[in-house]
Symmetry: C2
Subunit: 342 residues, 2 copies
Amino acid sequence: MNLKELSENLGLSQTTVSRALNGYPEVNESTRHRVQQAAALGNYRPNIRAMSLATGRSMTIGHVIPVASQGEVVNPIFAEFVAGASQTYTQFGYELQLSFTTTQDEQTIYRTLAAKRAVDGVILHSPLRDDPRLKLLKEIGLPFVVHGRVCDTSEAYNWIDMNNRSAFKQATQLLIDLGHRNIALINGQEQLTFAWLRRCGFEDALCENGIAINPELMTTAELTEPYGYQTSKALLRREDPPTAFLVSSYVVALGVRRAIGQAGLTIGKDVSVIIHDDELSYFDNGAAVPQFTATRSSVRQAGMLAAEMLLNQIDDPGLFPQNTLLESTLTIGSSTGPCKLM
Amino acid sequence: MNLKELSENLGLSQTTVSRALNGYPEVNESTRHRVQQAAALGNYRPNIRAMSLATGRSMTIGHVIPVASQGEVVNPIFAEFVAGASQTYTQFGYELQLSFTTTQDEQTIYRTLAAKRAVDGVILHSPLRDDPRLKLLKEIGLPFVVHGRVCDTSEAYNWIDMNNRSAFKQATQLLIDLGHRNIALINGQEQLTFAWLRRCGFEDALCENGIAINPELMTTAELTEPYGYQTSKALLRREDPPTAFLVSSYVVALGVRRAIGQAGLTIGKDVSVIIHDDELSYFDNGAAVPQFTATRSSVRQAGMLAAEMLLNQIDDPGLFPQNTLLESTLTIGSSTGPCKLM
DNA sequence: TAGAATTTCCGAAGCGGTTTGGATATCACC
DNA sequence: GGTGATATCCAAACCGCTTCGGAAATTCTA
């Protein structure tokens, strides 16, 4: 059932039917009603390709997920973020197009997306401290919102981010207050802004408390369970092992927990652990007493807000770039306690 | 840069330029070359909306991810499956459209997708034992491939699945061979086919070995960490606690491991655990000696194969429905050992 | 070398919507 | 009853591409 058939059935012109369905005023209310009924009856939906060709808007948003190489780790927070964004899109009649790309293809994929008019805007994931995509997207004039931030730029752009720096500073301060001095930071890859800012927050707290920064207690890698396991296992074998771990994600912390258990130590008593919790739905750290003390921030909500921001920008291209900085909450769980060495 | 401009620049008709770029034979090789050069220079990409309007094919595949309700658990295997499928799509010039939907909306979302010509086909996720979507999709004539299977039907349809039944039978048999008799099954929701088949396999092995089926040792729920924790904690408090756990996913097993640790028991010695491992990239159970003994099957690869199957079906609608049954491999890790009670 | 066959290109008609610029009918008002 | 305003509808152009049905130019055949 297309517009032509529908209008012929009704004995009306395509113009009138289109206008009736799209809520234009220049159509009699009774005919509008008649049209709506017929459309519902015939299960008529405008062909979205034809519609977007005519209007020039594709009504879809692109999410480009970077992977180091094909077959590489897919960051679990993407799914959650995308689920949040999708909620907003459906609410406003937008579709979500997903593509995975290796970092070397990224230059072309955005150009292609723009040139073939596939999307009205994109969400930028996993920004680097000095991310070339920023300039690229500005150049090709495709609206975008960054999930996270880029450090080395003075230009204005849309972003939404969690306050990684203050979150990790706060978490570190808690550990220091508990008497810990030998604190390990199990971080993500520090060319990624979020990991870099977390490290800054970590060092901020150490400095303010006059504690020397020990690079040997700071590690960076992709956020996997085995990474957490191996790295904390190695750290616990040191002659002066850390008494506390600050861990960048729940998944990594699972590895840390495994290593601590295997070393015959108890979390929250012998060793303290604080994690950052993105509130992934299948992990739920939020029992009455959470297993992990954590800085928490819902990545799903970030997805919703990022999507809203992008749709606003698309509706009003003259809008000055917007920023949102989400504060995390520090919730005390059973994985932290006073330092035993004190 | 659109086709009209490009053809005017070249002094050729739109027809010829289009044909040159799309590899049609009725164009001189030298002009084809000239056209290709100009297209590359001007970064010309055909407007995908116009193209699909003209050809009638949208060149995009829909993935509809069911969630119990908005804000509910997003199954982590979706991301991995979709990453695999995406690889195939990009290879063949297709795009991937993602939508999340609550189960009550599903009837309408597929109809809408078909009516508005948004996608050329869909992948069906998380099939139920008696899934109404099967009939619906056949009725509206949208090509589809099921990731998993539907039980209660005699109709032919495209599916790709892991052999859940034999995997869990094999795993159970291993536990029985190790002397275990009190085996718990920590399963997914059994209206989902995969969970149902796993239970069947579990019971198959018990029956063949003359072991009574004890419903109190079988649990079903959404596959989250807290579920694994709470349910295994409760089971371990029984007067005759299970000596082995068969667990439906890595994430759930993490909860089981936590409960076992808290009970002062050691995995692989006091209690055995076998999991099903979907080979999610960020969990990597595949060290020299894996932490968990596991039935393994790459869900990413399943995604790639499902996508191929669907594209074949779209290219040749007369094709008889195809099926692929992937066998899992049982790899021994350090989480299993002989039953202590023997 | 005429006529047929083959190359190589083009004009124009879709694809299914939206939207511009009227046309007609209805109504109010003097 | 004539005039202007308003309500309601329509024909046709357009979005950017593909593709059908020739037409012109070239090469091949007898």
